[in-house]
């Protein structure tokens, strides 16, 4: 229908964009916390928040695919644990440490050089295992017709169990990691931390995939209307499978970054993370019934979650007020989600008003 009738004014047109709602929420958050603790609003902290949220964003982009096809995955934390643990064991076994003599400003000193499986191989292992787990989820859901929540809940139990078995209850520590892996999340390039770069690359790829590739569009199509998809011969099970595989791969990648940051791999790593990822997607305007959601929105949603988390640590709560954190967090998430829905509804109402019968 003619655009002109839908755009009474540039301003309201701007406000039709769901992302704007998020910007407002974010701005308000920054302001409030900034009042309490100026350090919160400094550029360095902003950068830290971005760095801290990058992993969440990568996962959220994967979850976007899954939600687009009308599925869901609550096993991602377990996938992270298993895939990272597998990579961790490999690096641990192939690790060899060599003491080398280095001269630092005239003084003879010794430094340890730690080498192991090439980083690229570790990344491939991690993402591979992740993809495998994702594929398993996808098969169960798409072809086994197991409801996503049940399937991934079961998988969550299983994967944690498996990661416990493969690790034999042992954690992987900094001392077991090669320098290359430790630095994976610590290199900086053009002043930006590698995690941020990883996130940007994933974002770019996902954006192109979802906007310009057939398969990408089919994710939207399947989620938007399964029957139509069937009529035009789009195979929805395949789309579901692909979405879950992507989710798995990204979970593997995110897990590696996560482990590199913590310089520690435990079998119960990132337990409970999945919920915050799903929440960030919903805040980012992804419809859990499928077919709706933008990569950009998801990033903003994750950022909102990140800001909420960071705000809580920056609120300088001490003593008893420490105990308020959890409640505040819950309230903030609820507020963010609900406000977004309300914005969305007013948008739809506007569309209806302009709709010709």
């Amino acid at each position: 229908m003619p655009e002109k009738t839908r755009k009474p004014g540039a301003l309201s047109a701007l406000f039709k964009q769901r992302e704007v709602g998020l910007f407002i929420i974010l701005a308000v958050l920054f302001l409030l916390v900034g009042l309490r603790n100026p350090a919160f609003t400094t550029g360095s902290n902003a950068l830290f928040i971005l760095e801290d949220t990058a992993i969440m964003m990568i996962l959220a982009l994967g979850m976007l695919c899954v939600l687009l096809v009308g599925s869901i995955d609550i096993s991602i934390a377990a996938i992270m644990a298993l895939s990272t643990m597998t990579a961790g064991i490999v690096m641990k076994q192939n690790l060899n440490i060599t003491e080398i003599q280095v001269v630092t400003d005239g003084v003879m000193g010794s430094a340890t050089l730690r080498e192991s499986t090439p980083l690229i191989l570790l990344v491939i292992i991690g993402m591979g295992v992740g993809a495998l787990c994702g594929a398993l989820n996808g098969l169960l859901i798409a072809y086994g017709r197991v409801l996503p929540i049940v399937a991934t809940l079961g998988m969550q139990y299983i994967l944690y169990g498996v990661s416990h078995v493969v690790s034999d209850g042992q954690a992987v520590y900094r001392k077991d990691m090669p320098d290359s892996f430790i630095n994976l999340s610590r290199q900086a390039f053009l002043g930006l931390n590698s995690k941020i770069w990883f996130m940007l690359v994933v974002f770019a790829v996902m954006f192109l995939f979802l906007t310009y590739s057939r398969q990408g569009r089919y994710l939207y199509a399947v989620g938007s209307n399964r029957e139509s998809a069937a009529m035009s011969g789009i195979k929805s099970p395949r789309a579901t499978l692909i979405a879950h595989i992507i989710m798995g791969m990204l979970a593997g990648l995110a897990g590696l970054l996560y482990a590199s940051r913590d310089t520690k791999i435990t079998q119960d790593m990132a337990m409970g993370y999945e919920m915050y990822i799903i929440a960030s997607c919903v805040i980012g305007g992804v419809s859990v019934s499928g077919g709706r959601g933008k990569a950009v929105g998801v990033l903003l949603g994750a950022l909102t979650m990140g800001v909420i988390n960071n705000a809580l640590t920056m609120l300088r709560l001490t003593g008893n007020s420490e105990f308020w954190k959890k409640a505040i967090q819950g309230a903030l998430i609820l507020a963010a989600v609900v406000i977004n829905v309300i914005i969305q509804r007013s948008k739809e109402r506007r569309v209806l008003r302009d709709r010709r019968i």
Partner: protein
């Protein structure tokens, strides 16, 4: 004419759905460069036949020959690759995607040499296609925000974009204005001239006479016959479709129209309908017709409390009532037979009996608990009354044929004993036998002093059953006819959108 090569032959096509035989030994042959009309009552199997042909359903028996060679339509893509395009009756669109994408999904326009989709190309080609249909829909608009008519046009554009050798049009004009219909039909003629073969399914016999070369009639999933259009006349076709002549088919309604029981005044729902006013009397069957998307269904949804109006008043038996929910509506004595019985009318996995008793469960309480005995009794009562064909009340609704399912929904309606009964497309997808039965029930109810609001796009129904008929156009009531005034062309004229309004819809915004 006779010697023309056959593009398509379908023989002995049989399709089984759990419980029913939707198609039984149906045949159809299509010549190159002909427009072949496929007609029959609702539920005769036309759409199923098309779905078999386009690979959405696999036939349980029979074979399909395309240009002489036997083919298997394993899936929609296979059909598409063989140059078969279809405009399906039920819009197969993606509400969340853009118009342009809806048109080209499945055969995306890629950047030359790259696997990447070119949105510019997609957009421009879409615009051109829509223009050729005389439409100014914005290719970038979100499908979900379009009106039904506009979505229909997009569907057509989607089918045309595949420049196929066989084009199937299943009720393509159901929601179109006169001008748009003409546009479409001239395009169809053009395609025929170029040698494209077209299967046209339409309720409007006049359209068929103006377009088709031959006509094939189906009834209850059976093949009745194929004729050159010249050999036929309306009465004969209707007779073949219905299986008997009209006057036997529609019961004579002899109920006196009594006092007003439902009065609607200036009812409006933003984006759906405006300023709707009418009165329904006891013992009256009030017809409500109009094109698909004209707002009929939305009006009855408001009356039955499914949605809330933005403006207007509803008076039941003289006093104003606020109908806040279907529950409230039932309490006020307003019952609705919804349009989509599968999604809105029935709990498909439930037994017939449990479906029937659901609306008035309280009646079957004994000491606070449900009494299976009384439920079974009620179930049996209605199964017999409407002779619903089931082995027992325990059969699950899903396994019933369309007609019997509809009878179950009607039973639900009757258990409520409301005085005001709204029936939205009561005979949609229903076999002829049940159809007659349903008409009979309606007349009996009217005779008992119930007021019936009959929403239907089936002209004959309106003409033969209703005491008065309201016609809706673009969300407003465009005309009211008494039984004497009613005539097909009058109704059609009142239903057809005024074409100026189709252009840039500013005045409607």
């Amino acid at each position: 004419m006779k010697k023309q090569a056959l593009v398509l032959q379908m023989e002995g096509i049989t399709k089984i759905f759990p419980g029913i035989r939707a198609l039984d030994d149906v045949r159809l042959d299509l010549r190159r460069g002909e427009i072949h009309a496929l007609i029959g009552e609702n539920g005769a199997g036309k759409s199923t036949l098309i779905k078999v042909f386009t690979g959405i359903h696999q036939p349980d028996a029979g074979l399909i020959r395309l240009n002489g060679e036997e083919v298997e339509m394993t899936d929609p893509l296979a059909a598409r690759r063989r140059g078969i395009a279809a405009i399906h009756q039920h819009l197969a669109t993606y509400p969340d995607l853009s118009v342009a994408e809806n048109i080209f999904i499945g055969n995306e326009q890629t950047l030359s040499g790259l696997p990447a989709i070119s949105w510019r190309k997609t957009r421009e080609m879409a615009k051109a296609l829509l223009a050729s249909l005389g439409s100014d829909i914005d290719p970038m608009a979100e499908m979900g925000t379009l009106s039904v008519a506009q979505q229909q046009i997009v569907e057509i554009a989607q089918a045309l974009s595949q420049n196929a050798q066989v084009l199937i049009m299943d009720e393509p004009t159901a929601a179109l204005s006169l001008r748009e219909s003409e546009e479409l039909y001239s395009i169809a003629k053009g395609l025929r001239a170029k040698g494209t073969s077209i299967i046209l399914i339409s309720h409007r016999l006049e359209d068929i006479y103006s377009l088709a070369d031959r006509v094939t009639v189906l009834r209850d999933g059976h093949y009745i016959g194929t004729w050159d259009i010249g050999e036929t006349n309306t009465e004969m076709l209707v007779k073949h479709m219905v299986g008997r002549t009209i006057d036997q088919f529609y019961p004579k309604k002899e109920a006196p129209v009594g006092e007003p029981i439902l009065k609607v005044d200036g009812l409006s729902r933003t984006g759906f309908f405006e300023e709707v006013s009418f009165t329904l009397h006891a013992g009256e069957i009030l017809g409500l017709t109009g094109l698909v998307g004209a707002g009929r269904t939305e009006v009855v949804e408001v009356l039955s409390g499914v949605t809330r109006p933005d403006k207007g008043h509803i008076y039941i038996l003289g006093e104003e009532k606020a109908i806040t929910s279907p529950h409230e509506a039932l309490r006020q004595g307003v019952s609705l037979l919804p349009e989509d019985r599968q999604k809105q009318g029935l709990l498909l996995p439930w037994s017939v009996q449990d479906n029937i008793t659901l609306p008035r469960l309280d009646r079957h309480k004994k000491r606070g608990l449900l009494s299976p005995g009384s439920e079974a009794k009620t179930g049996k009562e209605y199964i017999d009354m409407l002779n619903i064909k089931v082995r027992s009340g325990q059969d699950i609704a899903e396994s019933l044929s369309g007609g019997n399912q509809q009878k179950v929904v009607i039973s639900k309606l009757l258990t409520c004993g409301s005085r005001i009964i709204i029936m939205d497309e009561p005979t949609k997808g229903v076999d002829v036998g049940s159809k007659a039965a349903i008409y009979q029930i309606m007349c009996d109810l009217a005779a008992k002093g119930f007021g019936i609001l009959l929403v239907s796009s089936e002209m004959p129904e309106i003409l033969n059953l209703s005491d008065r008929a309201l016609v809706m156009r673009e969300g407003r009531i465009s005309a009211v006819f008494t039984r004497e005034e009613m005539a097909p062309e009058k109704l059609l004229k009142a239903a057809m959108p005024l074409d100026k309004s189709r252009k840039g819809s500013a005045e409607y915004a």
